[in-house]
């Protein structure tokens, strides 16, 4: 088993290499040229004749874009083995600094929201599954489908208009993660302030995931509960609590564990919608900006990082399978 995971870990290296090559090609072969974009203000490409062409060439040389693609890729690879992601084309700051600024914000947002989503959805799903078609199950089903169908940009905008002061209730702050004067406050006040700022964005991030997850949980659980071994357990006279939490729950967690593979990349992925609406400088808006301005080094860093986390996430999920279901093993003997 340990061998298996060591092997899997080692496999990540060539896989990552492959992914990085493909990403590199996609990024560089997409139409749009950062040097051209630099010739003007954002979105401008002011035209001119020969001299403009010369300026573009100079700028391409500045970014090393004048080299053939394979040279550029090898250069990138050479840098990356020392964890040097290069400089952003936009402001010449090291890419790693920009990521360092943004990742904690996104991890905080996504982390809390995912935590809530799992904490609420699993018990909710279990409850629905153990009381199928009861009034409470029907109500949660309708409610969750309702939430599932509401786009979060709409919910967020409504929350901003009605709860952010202005013409209606002034309950929550609607931009950023801290009050403007928070720097002068005590530690505890700052924490309280930040939590207060987090309420709306977290809610907008959570409800959708929550709706999806609890449905998965419910379906998985219902399926298990109808199986023979549960009937056997009941026949043995075990209490309902033990049946549900010891025998059924672990089996029904498998689909949820599968979803966990996406967990790690989701943590740093960020959400463009929520970040834009609530003016939160996270990874979502950074990635969007990077695409928009063709900031190649930054894009590559984001792609590689997400790829790495996805691979680790899959590995983690595979490992968790063995925990929730002892029948799953990765020994040679088991598969032979």
């Amino acid at each position: 088993m340990r061998n298996y995971f060591v092997k899997r870990l080692l496999l990540i290296v060539p896989t990552l290499l492959g992914i990085s090559l493909v990403s590199f090609l996609i990024i560089h072969l997409t139409p749009g040229d950062p040097a051209l974009l630099k010739l003007g203000d954002t979105d401008q490409r002011s035209g001119n004749q020969l001299l403009a062409a010369q300026i573009i060439d100079e700028t391409r040389a500045l970014y090393g874009l004048d080299q053939p693609l394979h040279v550029q890729y090898l250069r990138w690879l050479k840098r990356i083995v020392t964890f040097d992601f290069g400089e952003s084309l936009r402001d010449h700051r090291p890419v790693i600094d920009k990521l360092r600024e943004r990742i904690p914000v996104s991890v905080k947002l996504s982390g809390i929201s995912l935590l809530f989503a799992y904490l609420i959805s699993i018990p909710l799903g279990i409850h629905s599954a153990t009381h199928p078609y009861s009034i409470s199950d029907r109500i949660t089903t309708i409610l969750l489908f309702g939430l599932y169908s509401l786009p979060n940009f709409w919910i967020a905008t409504m929350a901003i208009v009605y709860l952010g002061g202005g013409d209606f209730w002034n309950v929550f702050p609607v931009y950023g993660l801290a009050s403007p004067n928070a720097a002068n406050w005590s530690w505890w006040q700052r924490v309280e302030d930040e939590l207060w700022h987090l309420v709306l964005p977290i809610t907008c991030l959570t409800y959708y995931t929550l709706a999806v997850l609890s449905r998965y949980m419910r379906v998985g659980m219902i399926e298990i509960i109808r199986q023979d071994f549960i009937r056997t357990a009941r026949a043995k006279g075990l209490g309902e609590r033990i049946i549900v939490y010891r025998h059924a729950l672990r089996n029904s967690l498998i689909p949820i564990v599968t979803l966990m593979a996406d967990l790690l990349p989701a943590l740093i992925g960020g959400s463009i919608v929520v970040e834009t609406l609530f003016s939160i400088p996270g990874m979502g808006s950074l990635s969007y900006e990077a695409v928009y301005t063709r900031d190649y080094p930054l894009l590559m860093a984001i792609f590689t990082l997400s790829a790495l986390l996805t691979l680790l996430g899959i590995l983690l999920a595979d490992f968790l399978y063995t925990l929730v279901d002892p029948r799953i093993g990765y020994e040679k003997s088991a598969t032979a």
Binding site: D41, D43, S46, N48, D91, T157, V174, P180
Partner: protein
């Protein structure tokens, strides 16, 4: 030499604004009362975070607004500014007067103001001016956008306090290119080691510029310099702090050489979403919201409570929305067809329906407030009947009876390309499709990303498209790079407009130093463009904003970004922020 013209996707969702300067009208909300006093802050909404705070490198409007304010002077300053009378570039700033120009229009001599201090206490020297131009011209510096203004500059010489710029060829717009494009930056900050000292401007633009290790070292340092995030300027406001993604704070420079502004601080607060920003304004977190969405201006900013606290402004900026026709396509080759297309576009309906009234029918490439604008030109009317006649006349008739016009076996079917995220494109497209369908023309739409769209426009791989022309100022200097036939290959003449007389007029205008004669050339040129209709000018953009009524003398200049905080002040009793406290 290239002028700053910006092509914007029509009302982009996350609006990235350019560096346009003069606009047009302005209104003042709060009445003046009493003697201006110092104190209080202005908290202004920023819709996007600056990319960096180096005026030679930045590409974002927000950075420029913070760095050089509304009229070339805030943290950094230019050599010259616009005068508030006719918005000509005649107001001296770091230069003591407009330049002395040699008879052959090749040498421009500026005298650099004495007694000006950088924010770190060092005096401003003529060397700083030369250094600024050297840094901008450096091929390895990330200054591509500005470098395009320097292509006609041959050399710079210093003599005492005067700096002489020697140009390659005469051009009416040479002064603008020198005094109105580069904010002067401190040499002692950006080149403390004096790496560029041993090189003249000529050296740097020459072959040495690309190869010399010293220049390369300078460029690398310059591109990533710490002062790119903490600028040291000469202007009326000093940089205080920049909290990434949150706010940018400036404080008044008590040692300013000129007239000191009244507000203690300017706080630019980053709020990316328009709804959140308006909510923040109403909740008192913001004092100035420089740009409102049309729906916010007409529907969401009213009522007794709002009017009691806030004043609203409407101001126009030199920017117009246009539909580009690819003049090389078989159906758009004939000017009668292009005229017909314009007559099929109900521009007033578009302004009323989509811009909610914020705009004026487009007439010409020049803003109506430009001195060279030809007021005799009447926009073509919305007239589907006359359009149909013109199409018939041009030979585009429905020969095979399928409801779509055709000529020589070519059907009048074209694709209208717009950028993703452009709200107005989404609203405009169905209106046009319907209008054209009724006239027997089939239009399909395709949405692509803006930078990809620009690439296809440049390569003329499109039938029709739409974007905003956003001008750098109120001069027609940028017309050349958008309309001259030579700019069709690799330039900004996207619609492939080629007209020998129009070319000649543009060439002559750049060399005509007599303002009155130049005006005649531009008038004639506008007549030709109006007759040829290479594009359909849809509307001139008007913007709207709102700000707190506690400000007195709340002036909005016809320059981007509008608000002129240098003149705003708050009576003692109404002051909201004390300098010691935070807002």
């Amino acid at each position: 030499m290239m002028r700053r013209i910006i092509f914007l996707p029509l009302a982009f969702l996350i609006f990235v604004s350019g560096c346009t300067r003069p606009g047009t009208t302005s209104e003042t909300g709060a009445a003046d009362a009493g003697q201006p006093v110092q104190g209080d802050w202005a908290v202004v909404r920023f819709e996007s975070e600056p990319d960096n705070l180096n005026p030679l490198i930045t590409q974002l409007g927000t950075a420029r607004y913070a760095l050089t304010g509304v009229n070339n002077s805030q943290i950094y300053e230019f050599l010259m500014a616009y005068n508030p009378k006719d918005w000509d570039l005649t107001e001296p700033l770091l230069a003591t007067a407009p330049p002395a120009i040699s008879d052959n229009h090749l040498t421009y001599t500026f005298t650099i103001r004495d007694g000006v201090k950088w924010h770190d206490g060092q005096p401003l020297r003529p060397d700083d001016v030369v250094f600024t131009f050297k840094a901008a011209a450096c091929p390895l510096a990330d200054t591509a956008a500005l470098r395009s203004f320097l292509t006609d500059l041959a050399d710079i010489q210093v003599d005492g306090r005067s700096v002489r710029f020697i140009m390659v060829k005469p051009n009416v717009y040479n002064v603008d290119n020198i005094a109105n494009e580069l904010a002067i930056i401190p040499k002692h900050v950006f080149d403390a080691e004096g790496l560029l000292d041993s090189f003249s401007y000529k050296d740097i633009v020459g072959p040495k510029g690309k190869s010399d290790p010293k220049i390369k070292k300078f460029a690398d340092q310059f591109n990533a310099h710490a002062a790119n995030r903490a600028p040291v300027g000469t202007g009326p406001y000093k940089f205080e702090k920049w909290e990434s993604g949150r706010e940018l704070v400036l404080t008044r420079n008590e040692d300013y050489w000129g007239k000191k502004p009244y507000l203690d601080k300017i706080v630019y607060r980053m709020i990316t979403d328009y709804t959140a920003a308006l909510t923040a304004l109403k909740a008192g977190d913001l004092d100035v919201m420089p740009r409102l969405l049309p729906i916010q201006y007409t529907e969401q900013t009213g009522g007794a409570t709002f009017d009691q606290q806030f004043a609203k402004v409407k101001y126009s900026i030199p920017q117009e929305a246009a539909i580009l026709w690819n003049n090389e396509r078989p159906f758009f080759k004939d000017k009668r067809v292009r005229q017909a297309m314009t007559m099929l576009v109900d521009r007033q309906k578009i302004i009323d329906g989509i811009r909610l009234g914020l705009g004026k029918i487009g007439i010409s490439f020049l803003d109506p407030n430009t001195k060279d604008f030809n007021p005799n030109i009447k926009p073509l009317p919305y007239d589907p009947k006359r359009a149909a006649d013109l199409l018939d006349e041009a030979g585009w008739k429905d020969h095979d009876g399928d409801g779509i016009r055709d000529k020589d076996g070519v059907k009048f079917k074209f694709e209208f390309v717009g950028s993703s995220g452009s709200q107005i494109f989404k609203q405009l497209s169905p209106v046009l499709t319907e209008e054209f369908r009724k006239a027997g023309i089939e239009m399909t739409e395709r949405v692509i990303e803006f930078s990809v769209m620009l690439q296809s426009l440049k390569d003329h791989r499109f039938d029709a498209s739409t974007l905003n022309f956003s001008h750098g100022d109120l001069s027609p200097a940028d017309a050349f790079q958008v309309w001259h036939s030579s700019a069709a290959a690799g330039g900004s003449n996207f619609s492939n407009f080629k007209n020998p007389e129009a070319d000649r007029l543009l060439e002559q205008a750049r060399l005509e130093f007599d303002a009155e004669k130049r005006k005649q050339l531009y008038w004639r040129w506008q007549e030709i463009v109006n007759d040829e209709q290479p594009v359909t000018f849809v509307y001139y953009v008007e913007e709207s904003g709102a700000y707190s009524k506690r400000f007195r003398n709340g002036q909005w200049l016809p320059l981007r970004p509008g608000y002129d905080l240098n003149s705003w002040w708050v009576p003692k009793g109404l002051q909201k922020y004390k300098s010691s406290a935070n807002p």
